[in-house]
């Protein structure tokens, strides 16, 4: 049984009301989204601003209520839970936000921030909480003595570690990571991505990883769902999607990422025009205004998300007729032999002489 199953999720926000409070216009933020996630795996939701990926992540936690659809967590219907049961569920699913500067209470010490969920869910007796907070801090690579400090004393990367620690405090099965590395500098980004992967391996966590960056997604995801204007247009195992993207939108996204390889020869799909507004999505296929392969049928009839035998699903009328994606795919070989050796030496050396408190120390079985 899947850990999380989402069926036909819909959320329309009211964008404009009449004088008497009647809704005049809706933003169709999420319009019929379905997916499932196995325990211990990572599903990435990918798309551009306004595609609904963050809304989906909040709906899954019931931070906002869906208009239609079903969400099952370990078989339980989440939408049927009352307030008490919902609070109990939140112990099993947590969220990490993009901006580590805004998501930590500046008036609480790190120790208080981490002890609060323990107290709320009555997980650890008051006397043992300090000890537990120290364990969690070690787990995310921070020194226990930092528990007495306030968030403003930390850098962005360290704050994101604290946010991860807070999510881990309740020993969840699922963590939703909403653009967790977008606000961070490149070198810090890799520390957090490595940390997330290590924690997943060690604790068997499932992640929903919301991101606009396909390179990051390729690194971390097992399964990918590409969203455009409130709908999933393509979903597949990560390897399959990156090896042969089918939907014209997935291809455009993939080919739009600049490669750090000066001589890379590949064709790029340049989309014309702007991203349409979710307030008034185009009729038919919602991508048709920007699609290079558009035909008459796309303008009137919305394509269904159809899966092949291997579970690679695409919502496009022309899936079978599209040319091969080989020309736009980046070929391996981004690393020259010299660079490979240098990076290997760089990493080996840093593994050896880690400065204390910056990386994960041995924290075996601290959570059980």
């Amino acid at each position: 049984m899947a850990l999380l199953e989402v069926q036909g999720l819909v959320k329309h926000f009211v964008a404009e009301r009449s004088l008497f409070g009647r809704a005049l216009a809706h933003v169709k933020a999420v319009d019929g989204v379905s997916f499932s996630l196995e325990a211990g795996k990572t599903l990435a939701l990918v798309g551009e601003s306004g595609c609904g990926k963050s809304t989906v992540s909040r709906l899954v936690l019931r931070l906002i209520e869906p208009d239609a659809g079903a969400i099952r967590f370990e078989g339980r219907d989440l939408l049927a839970l009352d307030a008490g049961a919902l609070r109990a569920f939140r112990r099993e699913a947590q969220i990490i936000f993009q901006d580590p500067y805004a998501s930590l209470n500046p008036r609480m010490t790190v120790g208080q921030i981490l002890a609060e969920p323990l107290a709320l869910h009555d997980l650890v007796p008051a006397a043992r909480r300090r000890e537990r907070v120290e364990e969690i801090l070690r787990l995310v690579g921070l020194e226990p003595r930092l528990a007495r400090r306030y968030p403003h004393e930390f850098s962005g990367g360290q704050r994101q570690r604290i946010a991860i620690a807070r999510a881990l405090a309740v020993e969840p099965k699922l963590i939703i990571c909403d653009e967790p590395v977008s606000a961070l500098d490149v070198s810090i980004r890799s520390q957090i991505l490595n940390l997330l992967r290590e924690l997943q391996d060690r604790l068997g966590l499932a992640y929903i990883f919301v991101s606009h960056d396909l390179a990051v997604v390729k690194h971390i995801a097992d399964h990918v769902a590409v969203m455009n204007l409130g709908q999933i247009v393509e979903t597949a195992e990560a390897d399959a999607l990156f090896a042969s993207p089918r939907h014209p939108y997935s291809r455009a996204l993939l080919s739009a990422i600049p490669l750090p390889q000066p001589k890379a020869k590949r064709a790029t799909v340049l989309l014309e025009g702007e991203i349409p507004s979710a307030l008034n999505p185009p009729a038919g296929c919602r991508f048709h205004t920007r699609c290079p392969f558009v035909v008459e049928r796309c303008r009137s009839e919305a394509p269904a998300l159809l899966a092949d035998g291997a579970g690679h699903a695409t919502a496009c009328h022309r899936t079978a007729e599209l040319p091969s994606a080989d020309a736009i795919l980046p070929t391996d070989g981004g690393f020259s032999p010299t660079l490979s050796k240098l990076v290997a030496a760089f990493s080996r050396k840093t593994e050896g002489g880690r400065p204390a408190g910056v990386n994960i120390q041995c924290a075996a079985s601290t959570t059980k």
Binding site: E274, P330, T350, P355
Partner: protein, 329 residues
């Protein structure tokens, strides 16, 4: 590189004096030059001094608390010594800049046409009518659809990608010789970023202007630039052509950066990480500024600041252990 560069920065140092009396070393002994028609990428992480360097070129640093020394030579002027009047004549005319945030760098109470026309009239004079025609043509050049109608729109009516196009059109209004683009695509979605990068390549080919592109994204550098300067803690630590930098970097910081980015064209089980933190620039370390985070560090590195030396033709590194290949062969 051609014999006489368009712009030459020599020993640029910038210190900020804080209200509390603390002095921050934002930029230290930066030497740079860009030839006509070349594109230089200035790469580094937050706080490395890349934006401050560009603001110094434009003469946009606050005089009260920024202490600037060195020389910035542009077309016979030393930009650090010219009068405000001369600078105003140069800015928007022969020197132009595009900022990261297209949402805040346009004036919301004027139409985009007014803002472009103002630039043209200020530097080129002529009639308002001809300036308006020129503005429409510029909007067409940056691929704004139905430019003759759009010119009368206010900025709030345009999307982020459109606004960035307007910013570019404005920067190009007087055919600048040098265009500084500070993270021009960072605030944009990837498909829009691809459009803007394509546009920059087009304009580069058509106008022959030199470009300084400031970015943290090594992918953008590889796609657009000819040469790269990597900055760390206020200093240039490496300078090379893009091909050289991406295939055989000569500074450990560059190696760390290249190893730490997740890439579509390379599978890595574990990404490289650069441990530790950027030094406090109120008290920069005595030796190499990267030494505390460098896996290849020697005792000598922490004692004296390393000079920027040429490792091979046109490839400079501020590391006493370069050439780095010798460490791994």
């Amino acid at each position: 590189m051609s014999t006489s560069p368009l712009i030459e920065i020599e020993d640029l140092r910038i210190r900020f004096h804080g209200d509390d009396g603390r002095v921050t070393h934002a930029v230290d002994s930066v030497d740079l030059s860009v030839a006509n028609g070349a594109t230089l990428g200035l790469v580094g992480e937050s706080g490395c001094g890349k934006s401050v360097t560009s603001l110094a070129i434009m003469g946009l640093l606050p005089k009260q608390n920024a202490e600037i020394s060195g020389a910035i030579r542009f077309d016979g002027f030393d930009l650090l010594k010219t009068s405000d009047q001369t600078l105003r004549d140069l800015r928007g005319n022969r020197l132009a800049m595009i900022f990261q945030e297209p949402m805040t760098s346009l004036n919301p109470s004027f139409t985009i046409g007014d803002q472009i026309i103002e630039t043209i009239l200020r530097h080129r004079g002529g009639s308002r009518k001809s300036a308006r025609e020129r503005a429409i043509e510029l909007l067409r050049r940056v691929h704004i659809p139905s430019a003759e109608r759009r010119i009368d729109d206010y900025p709030h009516k345009l999307s982020g990608g459109m606004r960035q196009r307007v910013m570019i059109a404005m920067a190009l209004a007087c055919d600048p010789q040098l265009l500084i683009a500070d993270e021009p695509t960072t605030a944009l979605d990837v498909t829009l970023q691809a459009q803007i990068l394509e546009l920059m390549r087009e304009l580069k080919a058509a106008s022959g202007a030199a470009i300084i592109l400031i970015t943290h994204d090594l992918g953008v550098v590889a796609e657009v630039c000819d040469e790269v300067a990597v900055m760390y803690a206020g200093e240039i630590v490496e300078r090379a052509t893009v091909d050289e930098l991406f295939s055989a970097p000569q500074h450990p910081y560059t190696v760390g950066l290249l190893g730490s980015i997740p890439r579509l064209d390379h599978r890595a089980e574990q990404l490289a990480t650069i441990e530790g933190m950027v030094p406090n620039m109120a008290q920069p370390p005595a030796g190499c500024r990267f030494s505390a985070r460098c896996p290849f560090v020697l005792d000598a590195c922490t004692r004296t600041p390393p000079p920027l030396v040429e490792i091979s033709a046109g490839h400079l590194s501020r590391c006493i252990r370069a050439p780095l290949e010798l460490l791994v062969s």
